[in-house]
């Protein structure tokens, strides 16, 4: 597993992360991410066969709330920080495709 990351990889990742990076940034990140990943691969020195992945450092489970309705913010507070609004709605440039994942 090579730690190097190609320019193309960087472009792909930038697209996934919705960052319209400049050419100079792509160049810079290609080098930097490569060396960071190379360092990170140090983890491979360790045998983790049979080790449980630790997603939560505290052993907690079943944190649930009762189904009770609470007051919402109201339209004005909801939209107070909106870069653009139209009436009671957030306003965005027209969405042409329907790529909602839900």
């Amino acid at each position: 597993m090579g730690g190097r990351i190609s320019r193309k990889d960087v472009e792909k990742v930038a697209k996934l992360g919705r960052l319209q990076l400049s050419d100079a940034e792509i160049e810079e990140f290609t080098g930097q991410l490569g060396s960071i990943l190379e360092y990170v691969e140090k983890m491979n020195e360790l045998d983790t066969e049979g080790v449980e992945p630790l997603a939560h450092c505290l052993p907690i489970s079943n944190i649930l709330r009762e189904d009770e309705a609470k007051e919402s913010l109201g339209t004005e507070k909801t939209l107070a920080n909106a870069p653009q609004r139209e009436g009671e709605y957030f306003k965005v440039p027209k969405i042409l495709d329907d790529s909602s994942g839900v």
Partner: protein
């Protein structure tokens, strides 16, 4: 060393206000006097709330005058890191993307300060979204180290640490994801405590690495930190990762702080410490000697997996961050690019324009680590090694009360000195990062100075939810030294 109102500890001031010896308004005026004088140089604050603070101080003074009960922080001026949501002022995270963001709610920790009658002075600078170790990554301003204005205050809670060091408030909140409370406290010669994960509610703390983030106090001394812990600790139903009182009851951290710990057993890892600068190593060793003189036993231990902590951290924290920061997209709040050609550009250009380099770098790294084909090799592997790291700590705590080590391998470095090589900057987090991965509490306390008169911090780590023991151990050392009473030259020279 200097006496006077501005150098009082938080506990001392609280008591004097409560007894009527000092008025809250006097303390607030003293703070704003110091801010007028030193803040233009230090740059600790992103925003201050003078009018609101005066109003609150008068309200507390009134309460005291009329014999009403006041909260545990009655009338004491405090500051909060600007990554905690407040209904007053902006909540910027030192990012251009949130520069004008006004939260409609208070974070739980801030609300607890307000409920305890604290006077909130302002919101302090940080590395953008708490990503960094020098506060140089702030998208809004530069904070300098009050001990040497050519140097960084550390980070990411650099604003809070510098504010305490420069006497710009009496206590502050920071947040710690990989050392962001402890390291700047070490660099600025103040006390900083990172609580156990789950001890303090994260509700309203703008997330960086959700499984690692924790709010904690930054103060002039250990007792002050204990008092702030009393106020901010506890279960919060709004945070599913906050621990319930029946599993880990909140105790009075301040009450018996001078009791010490009898038969104290300290673990040290000499191999690990060897990587620190000589001055740092020496100071830490001397501090441990002080404990020994007081009857403590020192046990040498090995924690073989700690060497991998940085690698693990920069996968887990950035993976979580890449997802946590996806919401800053210019749709519902925050910066939006001026003329997007379509809605996709609202995302990609707004984010490109408003995020700083370090934030972009971490989003890129985290996105990559989670992406198809790399998940197992990076993210899953990191979670497994994280478990090994936690086990290392668990083994040590079976036979020791605490672990002692440096906070940082160096003292404060020069501004701009390390910005060119991000990996080198990351590697300096070697002593602080594993603590967050294991979720345990740790404190940084002043333990000396190097030849340049730059502060050095001693780090003490304890098992999960043993903050009470932790502050007692820290207090044992503090009570016999006066490093924490030193005042940076800035505040006397200017």
């Amino acid at each position: 060393m200097e006496d006077g109102l501005i150098n009082l500890g938080l506990v001392e001031l609280r008591d004097k206000i409560a007894s009527g010896e000092v008025k809250s308004i006097e303390a607030v005026e003293a703070v704003f006097g110091a801010i007028d004088k030193y803040e233009p140089t230090v740059g600790a604050y992103i925003s201050t709330f003078k009018e609101q603070a005066i109003g609150k101080a008068k309200e507390v003074d009134q309460k005291i005058a009329s014999g009403q009960k006041i909260g545990a922080l009655g009338g004491v001026p405090v500051a909060i890191k600007d990554n905690m949501c407040t209904t007053f002022g902006a909540t910027t995270c030192a990012s251009k993307i949130l520069e004008k963001f006004h939260a409609p709610y208070n974070s739980t920790a801030v609300q607890k300060l307000l409920d305890a009658d604290a006077v909130i002075i302002g919101k302090t600078n940080l590395d953008e979204f708490a990503m960094g170790s020098s506060t140089e990554n702030s998208g809004l301003k530069q904070t300098v180290n009050p001990w040497d204005v050519q140097r960084v205050p550390g980070g990411s809670s650099g604003g809070s640490a510098a504010a305490i060091a420069a006497r710009l408030c009496y206590g502050a909140l920071g947040s710690d994801t990989g050392g962001s409370i402890r390291q700047p406290c070490s660099f600025c010669g103040v006390v900083g405590l990172k609580p156990t994960y789950g001890r303090v509610s994260r509700y309203g703390l703008v997330a960086y690495g959700s499984s690692l983030d924790q709010i904690g106090p930054i103060t002039k001394n250990v007792a002050d930190a204990a008092l702030l812990m009393n106020v901010i600790s506890g279960h919060d139903a709004a945070d599913s990762t906050s621990v319930s009182e029946d599993k880990a009851p909140v105790v009075d951290y301040l009450g018996e702080i001078d009791e010490g710990v009898e038969g104290l057993k300290i673990a040290v890892a000499p191999q690990l410490n060897a990587g620190a600068d000589e001055s740092v190593r020496k100071s830490v060793e001397e501090a441990i000697e002080t404990y020994k003189k007081n009857g403590a036993k020192v046990i040498e231990v090995e924690m073989p997996h700690l060497d991998y902590a940085i690698a693990v951290y920069y996968v887990i924290a950035t993976a979580e961050a890449s997802s946590n920061l996806a919401r800053y997209d210019g749709v519902h709040y925050g910066h939006r690019t001026v003329e997007p050609k379509d809605y996709v550009e609202v995302y990609s250009k707004s984010r490109e324009e408003a995020f700083g380099q370090e934030v972009k770098r971490r989003i890129m790294l985290g996105t990559y680590a989670l992406s198809s084909g790399y998940y197992d090799a990076y993210y899953l592997k990191a979670l497994k090694v994280r478990n090994l790291i936690r086990q290392d700590f668990a083994k040590v705590f079976e036979k020791c009360d605490c672990i002692m080590m440096p906070v940082s391998p160096t003292t404060a470095f020069k501004i701009g000195e390390k910005t060119a090589d991000p990996l080198q900057m990351y590697l300096a987090d070697i002593y602080t990062i594993a603590v967050n991965l294991a979720g345990i509490p740790g404190v940084s306390i002043p333990c000396g100075f190097d030849n340049d008169k730059l502060p050095i911090g001693l780090q003490i780590l304890a098992p999960a939810f043993e903050e009470q023991k932790l502050v007692r151990i820290a207090r044992m050392y503090e009570s016999q030294t006066d490093h924490h009473k030193q005042v940076p030259p800035l505040t006397t020279n200017l």
